[in-house]
């Protein structure tokens, strides 16, 4: 009986939590399907209106910015390229960095690892001006390369992969060596497939990280051509319903990525067992 009460109570709390998170999102969505006039005269709406297609299409295709060079569609493309680039590049670099740290048994591996680790304490925002001037020197301002590369070295992902590699038994490496595998083959044939689950998790994590970038893209792009969704959220002008529609759409890619990759993530976890 007490059990039922506790369980009921925790469900109640859960329910409240969900409400707190969902309701504002719903209100924005519902409001975004009304006309601007309705919102301005009657406030935020709880129920769906009939201007969904009109509002969303206009937002997607509207040419914004000072020079009218960018549409929301282009922003989504930019964000997608940037987030995917960051995710893939940072997973590759940290996989390899961790491999070197764990398997190249230099005396300095631990020291090197801590130096890499310390960079967690120095986020991009702190080193943004030197990073910018490097990019400027290299003529990489206003390019996807410039958007992606400076934020694609992830100490956190390196840490995760390193900790994982350390749990891989030495006999596996030794056995592979005796089977004729060289350093590279061991990495490709063993470590990469064995860390599949973690790779997917890191891809999700780094995709969202890349997608959410604001300050760096703002700085490194002067051309409206390279605006990203998160920048657009700030720059977007126009009627409130259009901005709401844009906000709603901006949430879709990260959620989609999580849904798509989560399947592999869970499959990976269960397959290994």
């Amino acid at each position: 009986m007490t059990r039922l009460i506790t369980s009921g109570f925790s469900h109640f709390i859960l329910f409240i939590g969900i409400l707190i998170m969902i309701v504002p999102v719903w209100m924005i969505f519902a409001s975004s399907t009304h006309s601007g006039l309705t919102i301005n005269t009657q406030g935020l709406q709880m129920f769906l209106g009939d201007s969904f297609y009109e509002n969303y299409l206009r937002v997607l295709l509207y040419e914004g910015g000072f020079f009218k060079e960018i549409t929301a569609l282009k922003m989504f493309l930019n964000s997608f390229i940037m987030a995917t680039g960051v995710a893939i590049l940072s997973v590759i670099t940290s996989l390899m960095a961790a491999y070197a740290l764990v398997y190249y048994r230099t005396k300095y591996a631990t020291l090197l690892f801590w130096i890499i680790f310390v960079t967690i304490l120095v986020p991009l925002e702190l080193r943004i001006f030197p990073t910018y001037s490097v990019m400027a020197e290299l003529n990489l301002v206003n390019s996807y390369f410039g958007l992606i590369v400076p934020i694609s070295a992830s100490a956190i992902a390196t840490l995760f992969f390193r900790q994982f590699y350390k749990t891989v038994p030495d006999e596996l490496l030794e056995s592979a060596k005796l089977d004729g595998a060289n350093t590279w083959r061991f990495f490709v044939d063993f470590l990469v497939p064995l860390s599949k689950t973690m790779i997917v998790a890191m891809l999700i994590f780094m995709f969202v990280f890349g997608y959410n970038q604001y300050l760096w893209p703002l700085l490194v792009t002067s051309s409206e051509q390279y605006w990203t969704v998160v920048m657009g959220l700030k720059m977007m002008s126009g009627s409130i319903v259009h901005r709401f529609a844009f906000v709603m759409m901006s949430m879709v890619p990260p959620i989609l990525i999580i849904i798509v990759l989560q399947k592999h993530f869970i499959k990976g976890v269960f397959q290994d067992k």
Partner: protein, 350 residues
């Protein structure tokens, strides 16, 4: 010339541990050599130096006429079976077996042929598609063996491959490994701390203690003629009994009995060793054993008792004999079946 040749091989680990001392050893082609010794004596280290998984601090290792000190393990053409099997968890059994062949650029059909042959030999054909996590301990063991066999290497190395199996399976696999090795005929080194395993498998046995080969020989030579106290105590089950004694003018005096006309010129304090199976009951025997415990194994009994102040003296009696706690047995030693060791150095003196 021998197939595998170790010359004054020494291993000192970076932390200063001297695991193997100037060891020399020759193994001929097709031979089944067993390294046996207590845990930490350096058996694995010696084996791993042959495999190339540990650097050789000093000395030379020659395999098939080639100095391999500096040869990378992937180029040595040796196969190793590890204690925990080290199967590739993300590959199915087929790929576990095929991986080594793929790395040598062998074509697909040949690989398939070889894998299927090896699988048949080891009776693992039915689960070639399974992942190692879906196999039992015995099956994993077979896959590990298969991975070694399929490559047809110059030498098989086994590092305590049976110690993770339960007792019954261990005996069964022991038999199979021996049969398989005889069939395939590949030179093998097998490391174990279990002297029964060592005795049953070995063509030749190296008893290792503290990084030194104490004795090298066929199992029966070593059993019959242990050259040191350590080897005598290590080989044979149940363990040899040891008694303190004195040897003077070819007469050995133990606590309450004497043996005359000993074939040794040594004088001084010694340890007398007698195997439990070398005792026989007889009237007016040398030794009076007060029985404290009897282990009945069916085929024979292990009788543990006391001789004066010496405890846990063991005597192996025929199984049909009924012996009870509290009995006193009068025992004699079989003709010349005793071993005398210098008490200070442990060297055999008779």
């Amino acid at each position: 010339m021998s197939f595998l040749d170790l010359k004054n091989v020494t291993k000192i680990y970076p932390n200063g541990t001297k695991a193997v001392h100037e060891t020399s050893l020759s193994i001929s082609e097709g031979e089944f050599m067993v390294f046996v010794g207590p845990s930490g004596c350096g058996k694995s280290t010696l084996l791993r130096m042959v495999a190339g998984l540990e650097d050789i601090t000093e000395g030379d290792i020659n395999l098939d006429g080639q100095l391999i000190n500096e040869v990378d393990p992937s180029e040595r053409d040796v196969a190793m079976v590890f204690q925990n099997y080290a199967l590739y968890p993300h590959m199915n059994v087929y790929n576990n077996l095929a991986y080594g062949l793929k790395n040598r650029g062998i074509d697909k059909e040949t690989i398939e042929q070889k894998v299927n042959d090896a699988a048949k030999l080891l009776q693992i054909s039915d689960f070639l598609q399974r992942k190692p996590s879906m196999l039992s301990g015995g099956q994993r063991q077979r896959v590990a063996m298969g991975r070694a066999i399929v490559r047809n290497p110059k030498i098989f190395l086994f590092d305590e491959p049976l110690s993770n199996l339960d007792a019954k399976l261990r005996i069964q696999m022991r038999l199979e490994i021996k049969k398989l090795q005889q069939k395939v005929g590949v030179t093998s080194i097998f490391v174990t701390h279990d002297q029964v395993e060592a005795m049953t498998l070995a063509d030749r046995l190296a008893v290792i203690n503290n990084g030194i080969i104490e004795q090298l020989g066929t199992p029966i030579e070593i059993y019959n003629n242990p050259e040191s106290l350590f080897v005598a105590g290590f080989i044979g089950s149940p363990q040899m009994n040891f008694l303190d004694a004195n040897l003077n003018n070819k007469t050995l005096s133990a606590e309450n009995f004497e043996i005359k006309n000993i074939d040794s010129d040594y004088n001084g304090e010694v340890t007398l060793g007698i195997r439990p199976e070398h005792l026989i009951e007889s009237e007016n025997g040398l030794i009076n054993l007060k029985v404290e415990l009897v282990e009945q194994l069916g085929s024979d009994n292990l009788v543990y008792g006391q001789i004066k102040n010496i405890k846990d003296f063991c005597y192996r009696s025929p199984g049909n004999q009924i012996i009870k706690k509290g009995d006193t047995l009068s025992l004699n030693i079989e003709e010349n079946k005793y071993y005398i060791f210098d008490k200070s150095t442990g060297k055999r003196v008779n």
